[in-house]
Subunit: 358 residues, 4 copies
């Protein structure tokens, strides 16, 4: 329950930032899916630290080793175990961080919860754990692709630089054309500029990732506590630094009247569709066959390259000196993570749905 | 997994809107908690249809019968089963609704998922199910109260009428002074007026419920997939008509710089606290002892008292005639539901936390 | 986890022996299964107290009320909630039992675990809870029947009176021809006689229930922790008074050599079968298409109609006076319970199996 | 659910017999437990192939690498990931086994379930997976030891050579004095002799492992579906080749009268105890503070060093030639596995029990 995600398809992860390795086990993955391991590594590379000028300089190869569950290029129906070695844990001086709590980090809450913490690089609270999600998500995406389901996320806002067009007015095939992963080229330039400037100032920026799932059949999602809304929200809000999520119109629904936002039905090529999609492809917690789209708000990360006043374990004042290698804005690297969590939710629900009828 | 919520403390619910009864089973509720059943009924009455001029006219007594798990006024540690009878299922003519899909409702998605649906009053997709959550939440709240944890929700926005003050500038003891459950008296008047007007027009309004949990000890929440952010988001987004959730600053984080929103530590009465609370009481997915606060966005419900164009089971055009009894704005009745889901999450995590040490 | 059984198909139960009602929620039951409610009640009647001269005289109608999840005679895919009222809780004098622990009962362990107990009729520890399992099992059996899977249990031993023939030499259609539910008519007479005599002496007898599942397709069961062996064993050992379980040859395997008990393969009507079935239809934890058969050992119940020395809450000696209405041998009434648990396991695994392939 | 065991404390395993590695993730392990990694390896060595003259000659170092969750010699409360490399997968000729089904093995059932199988060394169905359980069990045992709970298993029967004394008449400290792990020295000699002889004949033997848990406090186990009986039975029957389990008197209860097997209460050193322990330390599914003891029946393994008639994938007859390296009797190596599963169940329930009270 704690380090496991999913119902039928489950991902369990382990690993601290500066231990020998992180890794995971994917259970319930369907048998007989052809796996392209190169593509898994490519998705992992999109999350990798040190990939571009606007990410952390921490260098990790992030080569995943798939240890089980795949035989002769196909999944076996047995659990897929994998590890990613941690290579670049420099012999840093941890004495300061061992003794003080970084503000708005997990240092204090881990200490309060467990009575101890692995202070090296944030230990288990480090976003390094999300690399495991990307491995699982990339595998899930391959299964979904064979079903005609595709998932694309992109950076839709950094600080106050916002893509105004909705996802269906954008060319989602060019997301990776720039290092901020924004399909609006002009906004991308502005975003990169803003991030570079924040980095110079030792400061950080927040942003929004928008994610779109296309080709999702009607019927996915469980109607009560397992509404697709709820499952996707949990998936997104389980990502480090995520602080808000909305589906379809989301918060914009609040100021609309019911009569303005009904998604009317029509028949298209002998299938029932809606003429608009305010609902974001989910009604009554269940997919209706239209595109699912959602936004995830990420706060500016709390690790500043500045000296910061804080307290130590006893609550006495101390100063933490800004150092290390960190992202001035996590949003571009969060893009493949958001895609991965979406893929896990959708494949899980696709499988679960097969149990509805005898 | 489908109709069950929680890890240690679980609520499983059953029931269709127009069947003989709805009900649930609460498992894992701690033993030895004194239960005030009158107070459970009072919370249920806050969600009850027909309670005020701005809610649906459907009349239900909503008297809960607690069938097990409580003996001599105390919980036993055994499951608490309960039912609520459905009294007012008038002999309506269902022929139209049996044949057509109400737009932006769950009619089509249930049909697509299960190949059938109980069309009477929305069947399982009806928000009537949430009455069961209120029963469980009211019991959980009583357990939390003995620990000094209190939860209060209120209507903070209806359409474009928005309470500007943050929760800690409001008097949360007066939430029930008006029927819209808004602690800002002037805004409450405007909200009620707006709802009344929408009702006259056969239209509906959206809104926001804000929820605050106070007295939560540090350490609650599981660090990875079970982040308190994620659990609360899932809880909220599992409520009918919820389409967005944010914790702490939420979406407002996006335009702030990291240096502006650090929650600095300080020592207060020999405890570590933060001087600000942008994080909303949760850091690294774990409570830090500050107030937890969150917003839930509700869309304007799709049931209009107007004739609506739609399609039938075959996709052929038809008209559904607006009738029945419905809420022009669900937000006031959602207040106790949001409180209930928050209570369930917090008590569940409180119990789970006891397993961390031998 | 505590009062819930199953993975995809789950049964959660509630209720104390002498509370207003017991009941349960069946979740994950497939949609579109035609339900014969009369047949459910018939199976419940086979477990009912007071049904024959060799069972307890406690009188309960045990009429189940199905409250949800079934519409127009078919399952909906939504949870099936049900209750069974407790009618015959006479105004007994509980003062003795409230103060003392019945030996080999759950009185002491409940008190130790929860710090309290509902002493009226054993509270939650009463086998009355198993009536809920029979409701769920009867529904599951109806779904299994449409798949050609049938489950039959019978009394194969009472005290030292043992049916010597294996299940496949017996006529399983005549199980209910006698009140001990033994398909060997001569042994049935001896068993009934032994039970009657034990009752006269205020004593109780143990026995064995054998259960056979036929028509189970190959492939059911999960290979590691969810081996069909393990799931069935847990199901059986969760029944009150069960103390042993064996599958196929079971304990008799111990004295055989590997070469004597290989189940050799052969082709029959173009399907692969085994020529013997020592394995009991399960190999590597997965069904192989042959009959599944198992034995469950029940201890003689601890409630004697005799005065019994024991201790009170403080550990001081006291005498409990034998009274009340109890079964001298629970085995005949356990037959439908064993069938029910087997049905739940098999339907659950049948559904789970559908998720193996995309 | 499939490859995960436990409720609060969970073990998830992965790995095929001849893949690069097997491994697992232990989640929910309590924080602050001092870990002796040497002792973990020692327990693993007791299960290791090639350890003695009566086990398989397959050589594996079976060195476990603990990758996370332990810091400065103590558990952190975070998941403990580990791997064990597979070293000795010789370049065997798999062509025969790829094409035929070994009788009474999992070859056919895996093929039927998944439509494919990893035929190299049995793939996932190999008992090699149980090495992961021993790692987790050894860690759990260390936590239990700090609570005064100890678990000892031993070989109590091989073929028809049976230890007649009950566990409490034996010196359990000498279990490892002989390679068959039987604390009755004379019987051990006979067992070893029998196994050696079976090996010479290319045949295999079954047997029984008895396990004793001492120092278990009253109150462990969940009363209904999670009875300690049920959890232990599932744990045992999830072990390869296990076909029967009994707790306390088990199957011997069947021929006793209730009045003969009541465990009467008495007060001892101000605690309530029983004067006998027919129940095996569990009453009403909950531990009563007495020793828990149980038996597990293992069938003679199906891998004979003889030529065996069988069928191929199409059901056509073929002969499999006996070769490879296998155990003539798995019982001695099953001893640490039975201990491990018992440790996992008890620690899990100990932790779960902490959630009963606020």
């Amino acid at each position: 329950m704690r380090n496991t995600f999913g119902n039928i398809l489950t991902l369990t992860t382990f690993g601290e930032s500066h231990g020998p390795a992180i890794g995971g086990i994917i259970d319930g993955f369907p048998a007989g899916v052809k796996i392209d391991t190169v593509q898994v590594q490519q998705q992992l590379d999109r999350r990798r630290p040190g990939q571009s000028a606007i990410t952390t300089a921490r260098h990790e190869d992030d080569k995943v080793q798939l240890l089980s569950g795949i035989f002769q290029g196909e999944t076996m129906g047995t659990p897929i175990g994998f590890i990613i070695s941690n290579k670049d844990h420099r012999s840093t001086d941890y004495s300061e961080i061992a003794r003080g709590f970084r503000p708005s980090h997990a240092d204090y809450t881990y200490q309060a919860k467990y009575g101890r913490r692995d202070y090296r690089g944030g230990g288990r609270s480090s976003a390094r754990e999300t690399a495991c999600r990307v491995v699982a998500g990339a595998l899930a995406a391959q299964a979904l692709n064979t079903l005609g389901i595709t998932i694309t996320a992109y950076t839709s806002q950094v600080a106050d630089i916002k893509v105004e067009d909705p996802y269906n007015k954008l060319d989602l095939s060019i997301v990776d054309n720039n290092m901020v992963r924004c399909p609006d080229a002009a906004k991308a330039v502005a975003m990169i500029d803003a991030i570079a400037q924040a980095r110079k100032q030792g400061d950080t920026l927040g942003g929004i990732v928008t994610c779109v799932a296309q080709g999702v059949p009607p019927g996915l999602g469980e109607p009560v506590f397992g509404r697709l809304n709820a499952q996707l929200a949990a998936a997104m809000m389980s990502i480090n630094a995520a602080k808000g999520v909305e589906i379809g119109l989301g918060f914009d629904f609040v100021t609309r009247r019911g009569s303005q936002v009904l998604d009317h039905f029509t028949r298209l090529e002998n299938k029932i569709h809606t003429t608009t999609n305010y609902s974001g492809g989910i009604q009554g917690g269940i997919s209706n066959g239209e595109d699912i789209y959602l936004d995830v708000a990420f706060k500016p990360v709390a690790t500043l390259m500045q000296d910061v006043d804080t307290v130590d374990l006893q609550g006495d004042p101390m100063v933490l000196h800004g150092k290390g290698r960190h992202d001035p804005c996590v949003v571009p690297r969060a893009v493949p993570i958001v895609e991965s969590m979406t893929a896990l939710v959708l494949l899980d629900n696709y499988l679960l749905n097969k149990t509805i009828h005898l």
